[in-house]
């Protein structure tokens, strides 16, 4: 909090926080819009409630801290957090799930640690995991695809978001990952349980899932655009996706009855969202390229392990939090090389030049 002048040299960042956040929001917009189109008005209401409450909690925390709220609110980081939380929620979840999620993300995930840039864990994933553990029923009730124009109308949707589902079984079902897991428990193996699975529809987003996670293609496009804009680098997304691909390919070839193929893995759940938008969070990922590769590969490995052998069908949230916890350790051992010294800190040997 010190405003004392510090002597140079200074390096100016090319972008301010608000510019970065705006680019992230633009990159997330297509997948979010797709979620709203696929799941209708309830998804839009949930999105609005979550983002607005995230901003409200941000303002409240800043006020309690005794700093002016507007400059921080305007930088858009609270909007991005709220947006990411909403995108990981079941689209027809009740409104209070969004509010509690925002509170967990902003208050417990961010401001308890000291605000923007100080948090140890990714706020959105922290909120998602805490919600999943606390409200298992609401967080695993997945609405059928019911597009904006043919699904429930504006008024009926208000009842869904703010009043609760009347008859959940009629309009909901399981996600691909959840379905596979329950089928395993009934002793039905993969070729049978995935008989109706369409890789193309899942790639486009036409499947049950979280609000903003179903459309792999739009998330992929947004992520690649962010990379081209220079907001994120390739190391984390590529190593994350590659490690899932390699793990699932090896196990699928070895035993295709029990292990889903790489296509299903990469196309399901939150992998695309997490790879490009969550794992690449500047604050909670390592600083060096090598550290980022280790971080991404670790995330991918944990996602595969939890999905294949864990109790939960989807493990991305847990994987991210676990690797967030390891990030300080990675940064401790893998540091940037100091000018004029080897990596281990010894001076460069220049005797024979």
């Amino acid at each position: 909090m010190s405003n004392k002048p510090i002597s140079g040299p200074h390096v100016a960042a090319t972008r301010r926080v608000d510019q970065i956040m705006r680019l992230v929001i633009i990159a997330l917009a297509p997948a979010t819009a797709c979620g709203v189109l696929l799941f209708g008005w309830p998804a839009l209401y949930l999105l609005a409630v979550t983002v607005l409450s995230a901003m409200a909690f941000e303002g409240l925390c800043l006020k309690m801290k005794g700093v002016a709220a507007m400059p921080y609110l305007r930088d858009g980081s609270a909007i991005v957090t709220g947006l990411l939380v909403a995108m990981t929620l079941p689209p027809w979840a009740p409104w209070w799930i969004g509010v509690v999620g925002s509170a967990l993300a902003i208050v417990l995930g961010k401001h308890v640690y000291g605000g923007l840039g100080q948090n140890l864990f990714n706020p959105a994933m922290l909120a998602r995991v805490a919600l999943l553990i606390s409200f298992p029923i609401e967080m695993t009730t997945w609405a059928n695809v019911s597009p904006l124009l043919t699904g429930p109308g504006v008024i009926d949707s208000l009842a869904i978001t703010f009043g609760g589902l009347e008859n959940p079984d009629a309009v909901t079902g399981a996600t691909t990952l959840g379905w596979v897991k329950t089928e395993f428990s009934q002793n039905r193996l993969l070729p049978g349980s995935l008989i109706e699975y369409s890789g193309l529809l899942a790639f486009l987003g036409w499947e049950r899932g979280s609000l903003g996670e179903t459309s792999s293609v739009l998330l992929l496009a947004g992520g690649i655009w962010l990379m081209r804009q220079g907001v994120i680098k390739w190391h984390i997304p590529v190593s994350l996706l590659l490690s899932i691909f390699v793990m699932s390919a090896v196990f699928h070839t070895w035993d295709s009855q029990h292990y889903m193929g790489p296509w299903v893995h990469l196309n399901s759940g939150a992998v695309m969202l997490v790879a490009f938008f969550i794992a690449t969070d500047y604050v909670t990922s390592p600083n060096t390229p090598l550290g980022q590769v280790i971080f991404g590969a670790g995330c991918g490995l944990l996602i595969f392990v939890i999905r294949s052998w864990g109790g939960y069908p989807e493990g991305t949230g847990f994987a991210i939090l676990l690797m967030n916890a390891v990030t300080p350790l990675i940064d401790h051992y893998i540091r940037p090389r100091i000018y004029g010294r080897y990596r281990n800190g010894k001076p460069l040997d220049i005797s024979n030049t």
Partner: protein, 236 residues
């Protein structure tokens, strides 16, 4: 015995230390293991706090009585043996007379032996002070600990189940059934708060609140002078 001694400066300071200034949980951050493990409900917190308090008073008395006989080189093992003997008595007593509560608190009763605060008070206070102040210190530390346990348990219980003092009749007898209240009917239940992370989160809020109150109280006593302000800014 002359009770007016309890209002002397020394005894008042001991009481203030145990209840607030040097509170086991909120300031020393000791005894976190039982704290986080059994405070799922206010009743369990109360039971664990009372058991610890009894052990602490007795162990402080025992250590203080024998403080001149214990060679300082091996004082810690002897303290532990004394505490272990007392805890065993409490454990057997609870198992016999409050069996339901004993089932709930289970492993954590024997673990009072390793509760660092009991050894801490024996080492820091009772081994250097006469019997009466030692017992008073054990009692006050125990009351402070119990209060923190009950408040934490109540906060977790309300947020996780919407009830308060559930099963109080098991601990305190049928006449205390009126304590059992349901604050929020048809509550969905914030399950996280019943799990260990909920204990950590709520404890964090409690410690923060205590520090906030302390800072407010300190600010009221000494209005900051110009020099203080400069030092503060330099430090920040």
């Amino acid at each position: 015995m002359n009770l007016s001694i309890l209002f002397s400066e020394q005894y008042r300071k001991i009481a203030r230390d145990g209840l607030w200034d040097n509170n086991v949980v909120l300031t020393q951050n000791l005894a976190l293991c039982p704290l986080l493990a059994v405070t799922g409900t206010a009743t369990n917190g109360l039971g664990m706090g009372l058991a610890t308090m009894v052990v602490m008073v007795a162990s402080n008395a025992a250590v203080s009585v024998s403080r001149h006989l214990i060679p300082s080189e091996i004082r810690i093992p002897i303290f532990v043996l004394l505490i272990a003997a007392l805890v065993t008595l409490v454990d057997i007593f609870l198992n016999a007379w409050m069996h339901e509560l004993h089932k709930v608190l289970g492993l954590f009763i024997p673990l009072i032996v390793t509760n660092c605060v009991i050894l801490g008070r024996a080492e820091a206070f009772a081994s250097k002070q006469p019997v009466m102040p030692s017992m008073w210190d054990g009692l006050m530390m125990g009351v402070g600990f119990t209060a923190a346990m009950v408040v934490l348990g109540a906060m977790r219980e309300i947020s996780s189940a919407g009830t308060l003092f559930a099963n109080a009749s098991v601990l305190l007898g049928e006449s205390f059934r009126f304590l059992e209240t349901t604050l929020i009917p048809e509550y969905k239940g914030f399950l996280l708060m019943a799990l260990p992370p909920g204990g950590f989160i709520m404890l964090g809020f409690m410690v923060a609140l205590k520090r906030l109150l302390d800072r407010k109280a300190a600010a009221k006593i000494t209005e900051p002078t110009i020099i203080d302000t400069i030092v503060l800014e330099e430090g920040a």
